[in-house]
């Protein structure tokens, strides 16, 4: 349990959060035109990251890093193809570009950042990949909700406001929203760090007074 918490906390560090936002920029921007597309893309990303990590991490026992990476990226591409085929076949996402989004995801910075390490246990690699996938989902779904609301005045296809700002549906707007998210992460991290420093300082003062 302690290890699980440790992995979750390390995934919530400023560097990891920002690299997840930057690494997933292409996928996030293209897949966040509406909440439904974001949800299904996030599910595919989550499956892609965890499955590839689970299959590739144990291979360090029998092959070198290059072999592990080859298996990892091939599996990511295979999951991407399966997701694109299923989503297109069942018409789950009304988007012509889902295949392109999935192909881009398989070679994105997000996938690259989660290549299993040689000193990493399989469970650790899988858990860390799942947390990364969940972070991507959180960012993608919230950006998608904002964009759908602003562009069409709907959420999950239901009208909630009479707003129409077509530019919100453009990829450029998605990039700017991701930039705003990254800035928010920066600000929150600065505040958290300042609060921690304040707490440490107070504890030191209390210790000095006690002495």
């Amino acid at each position: 349990m302690k290890k699980v918490l440790e992995i979750c906390m390390s995934a919530l560090s400023r560097e990891r959060l920002l690299s997840a936002v930057m690494g997933s920029a292409a996928t996030a921007v293209l897949a966040t035109v509406n909440v439904k597309a974001a949800l299904f893309t996030s599910a595919a990303v989550l499956v892609m990251l965890t499955l590839a990590a689970a299959a590739a991490a144990p291979l360090y026992k029998i092959t070198a890093k290059a072999g592990v990476e080859a298996v990892y990226f091939t599996l990511c591409a295979a999951v991407a193809m399966c997701a694109a085929t299923v989503y297109t076949h069942f018409d789950i996402i009304a988007s012509d570009s889902i295949a392109k989004i999935m192909a881009l995801t398989a070679a994105s910075g997000l996938v690259l950042s989660r290549v299993p390490k040689s000193d990493e246990h399989v469970a650790e690699a899988v858990l860390d990949s799942a947390v990364t996938g969940a972070l991507f989902a959180a960012v993608a779904v919230s950006v998608a909700a904002m964009r759908e609301l602003l562009a069409f005045g709907t959420l999950m296809g239901h009208t909630v406001a009479h707003v129409s700002l077509p530019i919100a549906a453009k990829p450029a707007f998605g990039l700017m929203m991701l930039g705003a998210y990254a800035a928010l992460i920066n600000v929150i991290c600065v505040i958290v760090r300042a609060l921690r420093m304040k707490k440490i300082k107070r504890e030191e003062e209390v210790t000095v007074i006690d002495e």
Binding site: A99, A106, G109, M176, A183
Partner: protein
């Protein structure tokens, strides 16, 4: 002649791979730290995507597969394999260039820009020559985008950026603004 210019304009500006199609936008920070690196990365991308498109086109034609479906699987695998091969070749033939590219090797070999360009070029259902020309021009468009960004990035020292938007937020906000310029501010209402 006018058709050629139209093709060049479309691939580099109107349908720019980075700022319009969003391929490789996640690598903007990696390759744009200086104009030299942006140019080197763009040249490498042009080489890799041209070779990858030819290989993928031949493969899809030989096995008569639907490029729109199987391209999702094949484009990343082929472009990564070609990149790794190109890096090995550069290491042997041009050690000086290899040393220059070394810090960016991982980002170069697994590059969503190459995958996006390769997938798009094969998905158009056009001939081999046209696909390769399209991929090469799109890669030059990517190089242009990295160069534009590198020049802008050079002019904004980190010390002059507000703490909240220092680093990745600035990259994304600037990329968003440039992308908006490329899309001609369409969809905007004032």
């Amino acid at each position: 002649m006018s058709e050629l210019f139209s093709l060049i304009f479309t691939a580099i500006i109107a349908e720019n791979a980075v700022f319009v199609s969003m391929c490789g936008v996640d690598r903007l920070r990696d390759f744009s730290d200086s104009p030299r690196h942006a140019a080197l990365s763009g040249a490498f991308l042009t080489l890799v995507s041209s070779i990858s498109v030819s290989l993928l086109w031949v493969l899809m034609t030989v096995i008569k597969a639907d490029a729109a479906v199987y391209g999702v699987l094949a484009a990343p695998i082929i472009s990564v394999a070609v990149s790794v091969g190109a890096v090995a070749l550069i290491k042997k033939a041009l050690p000086a260039l290899y040393r220059g590219l070394k810090p960016y090797l991982t980002a170069l070999t697994v590059n969503s820009a190459a995958v996006g360009i390769v997938y798009a070029a094969v998905g158009f259902d056009i001939g081999l020559t046209e696909s390769v020309v399209f991929a090469a021009l799109s890669s030059l468009g990517t190089m242009f985008a990295y160069l534009v960004f590198a020049v802008i990035w050079d002019g904004i020292p980190a010390s002059r950026q507000a703490a909240a938007i220092r680093g990745i937020p600035t990259v994304l906000l600037a990329a968003g603004l440039i992308a908006m310029v490329f899309s001609g501010f369409s969809g905007m209402r004032i």
